[in-house]
Symmetry: C2
Subunit: 134 residues, 2 copies
DNA sequence: ACTATACCCGACAAATTTAGTCTTAATTAA
DNA sequence: TTAATTAAGACTAAATTTGTCGGGTATAGT
């Protein structure tokens, strides 16, 4: 119930490796997947999500690959998670508000508070906090 | 990836309702499941978990049911979650430590930190913080 | 003693979500 | 032109969550 998914894990590993390299240098999916024994296709799709969100920049063709586009210091983990997995909520009732019991529900408010706390927490952790080498 | 499960949700609703009643009074699974439109069998199994963990006390026979056994103020949410769902970790590698990459893994330490933050957070929220009426 | 009502427990099945695969583009360096 | 790379989406497989079933045990009321 509080577990990171593979896609997030793979993305973090990838970005972490990219950050260890020189600024403008490119890293290919093949490289990362081989070095870390990550399924190529899955990592590829995940990198595409990051590219669409402009976290990384893609360069096609031979010797192509990805490089960082945004400063990881400026990216909140909340944002990062949602890029990869979509909206993040501790309970369903906040997104699909077609919950019948929404008026009578006794735990809605306190769960909402927890939800906010979790978001606060991840708003205050940057991508760089996880992917930096030091 | 950060979502409460039904079993936890149902347990919280149940405990919340029980807390609204008089101290020694009993509440049956049937009662809770009907009033909140929760699948009877699933709620029953969930209550059994709480009974085994001595969060609640079961009384068998006609007019039986459950009553609170421990003070909800004294129960950490971490404990509560783990009673219902088993060990809670942000990444698998902490429990089944048969991860090949555990030595070379670049994100292990930072993820560990997040894991600790989450646990800290839920160690500082009591069951009562969620189930109290006021 | 019998019966109805409650909790107990584990095995099963269905539904949902996550993980992984495959196929077909589009781009570009050499 | 060819090989290497990203892009995108459909598809399958595995894992997890959710819900069901069938048989127990205990006990209050009669
Ligand atoms: S069950 Fe939907 S708001 Fe509580
Ligand atoms: S992948 Fe297992 S410790 Fe990082």
């Amino acid at each position: 119930m509080l577990k990171i998914t593979r896609k997030v894990e793979y993305a973090l590993i990838a970005l972490s490796q990219m950050q260890m390299k020189e600024d403008e240098s490119l890293t290919s999916v093949k490289e990362i997947s081989q070095q870390n024994d990550i399924p190529y296709e899955l990592l590829a799709k995940t990198m595409q999500l990051l590219a669409r969100a402009e976290i990384v920049e893609a360069v096609k063709g031979p010797h192509g690959g990805y490089r960082l586009k945004k400063d990881p210091t400026e990216i909140k983990m909340t944002t990062f998670f949602e890029i990869i997995e979509g909206p993040m909520g501790f309970m369903d009732c906040y997104f699909d508000s077609n919950c019948d019991q929404i008026h009578s529900c006794s735990i809605r408010t306190p769960i909402q508070r927890i939800n906010d706390s979790i978001r606060d927490m991840f708003n205050n952790i940057s991508l760089n906090d996880i992917t930096r080498s030091v």
